[in-house]
Amino acid sequence: MTTLTAPPPRVRLARFRDLTLVPVILILLVVGAFLDPIFLSVGNLTNVLQQQASISLLVLAEALILIAGKFDLSLESTVGMAPAIAVMLVIPASAGGFGLGLPGPLVIPLCLLVGAAIGVFNGFLIIKFQLSAFIVTLAMLIIVHGLQLGPTEGKTLFELPESILYLGSATWFGLPAAIWIAAVLFAAGIAGLAYFRLGRALYAIGGNADAARAAGIRVDRVLWGVFILGGTLAALAGVLETGRLGAIGSNQGVGWIFMVFAAAVIGGVSMDGGKGTILGALTGVLVIGLVQNILTLKGVSGFWQPVVYGCIILIALIISRIAGGKAQD
């Protein structure tokens, strides 16, 4: 059987498309090493990873949702709101809680439950009610953040139960627990999307929902599940962030969603659905984390850093446009 002209180099290139940012990461490591001797130290790199651990969970969640062809802006509000509400259910009224007196160890399950519930609600409006994912989650971004501001009256929660601080501050085998958690979840995401039917269903749905339905995939159920998983991951990101900072500020997570989209998109996840990998999204997070670290080490003013991030996103898009050769939507 003569094989048809599907050029082998192209296939190979497609396989490595996830890794287009690896050279960028290497360049950043070299540049960082020259700019500042502290940069390559274990302490600093560990620090970079720990700082990125919670936002990386949001990138993971967003990548899953984008691959399935949907959209979720509300994730960033969940990062602050879910732990804040969970904590307030547990701590006494004197510390700013609701005074329900639920047991302290319940705080993490409660937090994840709140995140999942937000996902359920998003999914209901977008899938069952068939509203636009963009507008629904934009509204939910505002509502969910408001649901944190309202009960806390905009105050920072300081008196937190021990259990919610643990994951974000503990050290396992010489590395912060948050890094392990993010690593394990990313590994699960990479394997799940590459080797399991459910993961492949996300690509099928994002690529052509009608074809997926015709192939017997329960499109609505899978999509709803992805939104719930996304909300839960965002809540977990909130737990890690809370533990790292030791308090829940009123603007925890605010403004993250731009970085999340930037990381996912420069990592090769398509905004149109059906394309991209979790590994690619991970490299996107790492690039942004390293740039952030280098800028901070070099003492670049925080007021100027957004300009640099914006430029990085544009440059990454231009590079992938040139490498990919196809017009982007």
Binding site: L4, A6, G207, N208, D210, G216
Partner: protein, 493 residues
């Protein structure tokens, strides 16, 4: 011979419309059976019922004498019937192997990609599909994607396959290869139902043919003993003239709209066209003939690969709609809801959009002048509306179409391009709209009328018939339905 598929007395309603009215089909085992009929005859509805995507309101479907499985049991359906739909169900971002085994990449546990590719290669070679299993589906051409779909459809073990207009997107050589493949499948005992608008293909590949018309079964006959004429008249039925076309003198005025060797890849090739003042030229052909593409290129909606368009003596820049309209062209688009009007704007505003500059100076639009012009348009075209201020979105299909006509005619165009003007409008509106075209022509315009409705084309002084992207015949007034359909379906050239 045993009957492989039997659908009896199928009734299917969608709201007030009856898509199938006691229709049925019987296909013997191992035969290739054609299903033909004009648009809206109920073919697609029958396909969705035979593939278990929709439940008939009445009637039953039998596979080899057994009752069809429950609608929810997708696997059971797929083991009985496979379908290659008109619309591709290949996912471009995934590999060929994964497309073949979509949602059954593994029976449990992680996917073994190497084994999956091996299985895909085996499947592809079984059906002699010459495609690399590891290639991305987006790198395949239309023909290869279709072959992958056929292989996938058969891989569920179905011995009955429905091909819904498979040749619409293929070129001549690819069609020949598809037919060779279909013959090979038939020798292996596969039963096929073949849907096509091209009757010559029916004669080439099928043994029997069933004709649907207006949601009913009209006849089923072996192809061999069936004269072309009889097949065409079964499809068209009695031609009922609802509109009496007016007579005009021979057109020998100046050319107001012309095209020279106009080509657009995949749509039409090397088309020459000249429309004179006082003349209606029809464009007829099947859905894939390129007639709509040609008309849209005349207007500038598509940029032709080569050739020129001249409107009223001005050679317009290719692919420039404002230039064409400025040169004196009026245009009624194919899909009025998408391109014809702005639903939230009023009748008056929609109707006078092209002449806004004449309704006031310095970009200001005088509401009073717009109103008076709109009242005049409403009267001329007999638009049933509460007044010029009613949003067009609230009007019925026929009246909305009249507003689109008003917009096309408001600037007294020298040339008029009209695509499917009577789609979805009632008989009364139909007559008014065709009358409006003839009025414009009597005022000295030249018109191009594209239509799927043969009755619309009766107002034409001549009809150019297109087939696979070329004008194959110039038919003068006085044709019969038989003649025209025969040319349209490519039986006779």
């Amino acid at each position: 011979m045993k009957n492989h598929i039997e659908a009896r007395n199928i009734v299917k309603r969608f709201g007030p419309t009856v898509a199938l009215n006691g229709a049925g089909i019987t296909i013997a085992e191992g035969e290739t059976h054609a299903l033909v009929g004009r648009n809206g005859a109920g073919k697609s509805t029958l396909v969705s019922i035979l593939t278990g995507l929709q439940r008939p309101d009445e009637g039953e479907v039998l596979f080899s004498g057994e009752t069809a499985p429950a609608l929810a049991d997708r696997d059971a359906w797929r083991q009985r019937v496979a379908c290659v739909y008109q619309k591709s169900t290949i996912i471009p971002a995934l590999t060929v192997a994964e497309n073949l085994f979509l949602n059954r990449q593994t029976t449990g546990g992680p996917i073994n990609w190497r084994a999956l590719r091996a299985k895909a290669r085996e499947l592809l070679s079984t059906y002699e599909v010459d495609v690399d299993a590891a290639a991305l589906a987006s790198d395949l051409n239309v023909e290869q994607r279709q072959l992958v779909e056929i292989a996938r459809a058969l891989s569920f073990g179905a011995r009955f396959i429905i091909l819904d207009e498979p040749t619409a997107r293929l070129d001549g050589l690819a069609i020949e290869r598809l037919f060779a493949r279909m013959r090979a499948l038939r020798e292996q005992g596969v039963t096929m139902m073949y849907i096509s608008h091209h009757l010559d293909e029916v004669y080439e590949i099928c043994q029997s043919v069933t004709v649907f018309r207006d949601a009913r079964h009209v006849m089923t006959r072996p192809v061999a003993a069936l004269p072309h004429d009889e097949l065409v008249s079964a499809m068209t039925g009695e031609a009922t003239t609802v509109y009496e076309a007016r007579t005009r003198g021979a057109a020998n005025g100046t050319v107001v709209l012309s095209a020279e060797s106009l080509s657009l890849a995949g749509r039409f090739q090397a088309v020459d066209l000249a429309v004179r003042t006082g003349e209606v030229v029809g464009l007829a052909g099947s859905g894939s003939s390129g007639k709509v593409g040609l008309a849209e290129t005349l207007v500038g909606l598509h940029k032709p690969d080569s050739g020129t368009v001249t409107v009223n003596g001005t050679r317009v820049r290719p692919g420039d709609v404002p230039a064409a309209l400025g040169a004196g062209l009026g245009f009624v688009p194919e899909d009025r809801n998408r391109e014809g009007f702005v639903p939230l704007l009023s009748v008056g505003e929609n109707g006078t959009l092209p002449i806004a500059r004449k309704l006031g100076r310095y970009g200001v639009i005088s509401p009073a002048r717009r109103r008076s012009k709109a009242v005049q348009l409403i009267k001329e075209l007999d638009i049933k509306t509460e007044g010029p201020d009613q949003p067009v979105g609230d009007l019925s299909g026929g009246n909305a179409q009249k507003v689109v006509f008003a917009r096309a005619l408001v600037d007294n165009p020298a040339a008029l391009v009209v695509i499917n003007p009577t789609a979805g409008v009632d008989v009364k509106a139909k007559q008014a709209l065709l009358g409006a075209v003839e009025d414009a022509v009597e005022r000295g315009a030249g018109a191009v009328l594209v239509s799927d409705e043969l009755d619309d084309l009766r107002i034409c002084d001549r009809v150019l018939v297109m087939f696979h992207g070329r004008v194959v015949k110039d038919v003068p007034r006085g044709w019969t339905d038989h003649e025209l359909v025969a040319v349209m379906e490519g039986i006779e050239e």
